[in-house]
């Protein structure tokens, strides 16, 4: 029975990634960041660069809200009518505090490490794509193991490879970052599109499930 319950939990986790919208969300953010760093690299002293720099703190949260809304809209139109709606249990009490603390701790450690490396050696900035790809690979590997979906392990590996290759081939920090985010955005876009295609083929509209209660 425990096994059955674990299977139910795993299937509920996998359901979150069933239609590729997770990759589209991540891809959108990566492409916005790619554009941001490209402007920083190509027009470092320009007005647009300064404005974008000041707006940077707004880019991630506003982009996330916008993309979240689009994803919800998409799921309401495409996913829920085909394979159903599911809401996940939110962590409560100690569990929530532990998860928040863990996320903050990991962020602080990564931030501290990056700051220490850059302060110790300015040339280390050239390794920013590599370091960023390492964080991405860690996140995708975690998602892959948690959901038992191998495509995330492959994505993590490809992102790590592209980040390290960009660093080794000597792309400067900002342009390298821009290229890394562009590659990440495109890879995720392709993965999301393939996942969505498979999902739509397996759950065609003409056999759309109906609420028959």
């Amino acid at each position: 029975m425990k096994q059955e319950l674990n299977k139910s939990l795993l299937r509920a986790v996998q359901y979150h990634y069933i239609d590729g919208t997770f990759e589209f969300t991540f891809s959108g953010l990566c492409l916005v960041l790619a554009a941001f760093f490209y402007v920083q690299a190509k027009l470092p002293e320009s007005l647009i660069s300064t404005i974008l720099m000041w707006l940077f703190v707004l880019i991630i949260p506003s982009g996330s809200i916008l993309i979240n809304r689009l994803v919800n809209r998409f799921k309401e139109k495409v996913t829920y009518p085909r394979t159903g709606y599911l809401s996940y249990q939110k962590p409560k009490g100690v569990n929530k505090a532990v998860k928040t603390g863990f996320a903050m701790g990991v962020t602080a450690i990564i931030g501290g490490l990056v700051a220490a490396i850059i302060t110790g050696s300015p040339q280390a900035l050239d390794w920013m794509p590599g370091l960023t790809s390492f964080v991405f690979a860690f996140v995708f590997a975690w998602i892959g193991f948690r959901s038992s979906l191998p495509r995330f392990l492959l994505l993590g590996f490809l992102l790590l490879l592209s980040g390290v290759l960009l660093s080794v081939t000597g792309f400067g920090n900002i342009l390298g970052l821009s290229l890394f985010y562009a590659i990440a955005g495109l890879l995720l876009l392709v993965s999301g599109a393939l996942t969505l295609r498979v999902y739509l083929l397996r759950n065609p509209r003409d056999v759309e499930e109906q609420d028959g209660f």
């Binding site: 425990k2 359901y15 085909r82 159903g84 109906q210 609420d211 209660f213």
Partner: protein, 103 residues
């Protein structure tokens, strides 16, 4: 052995039915799920699923909210605290039974 069987005979018969146990196992790991998701996960027909959900609702194990998404009817199901407890007790009893009857 007789006493093990005796303990197990006190199992909640409402939960101790394969289809209902599967429904509860799906609902136990989520906040709520709609009828379409439950149907897909359990592999039951609409009629069967409706019947089992009605029984679970009548026992106070499942809370059913009937609403609309746009113009489409939406049936949202969630486990009540009583349902969660009943399912947890059932799991404990089942595991106990298996452990005690191991060769």
């Amino acid at each position: 052995m007789a006493s093990d069987a005796g303990d197990f005979s006190s199992v909640d018969r409402l939960v101790h039915e394969p289809s209902r146990a599967v429904i509860l196992s799906v609902l136990a790991v989520v906040e709520s799920a709609d009828f379409v998701y439950l149907k897909r996960e359990t592999g039951l027909t609409s009629g069967n699923l409706s019947t089992h959900l009605s029984k679970l609702e009548a026992a106070g194990y499942v809370d059913i909210e009937k609403t609309y998404r746009g113009r489409m009817p939406l049936t949202l199901c969630r486990l009540t605290p009583e349902g969660r407890l009943a399912f947890e007790n059932y799991r404990v009893q089942l595991m106990e039974f298996v452990r005690n009857t191991r060769e």
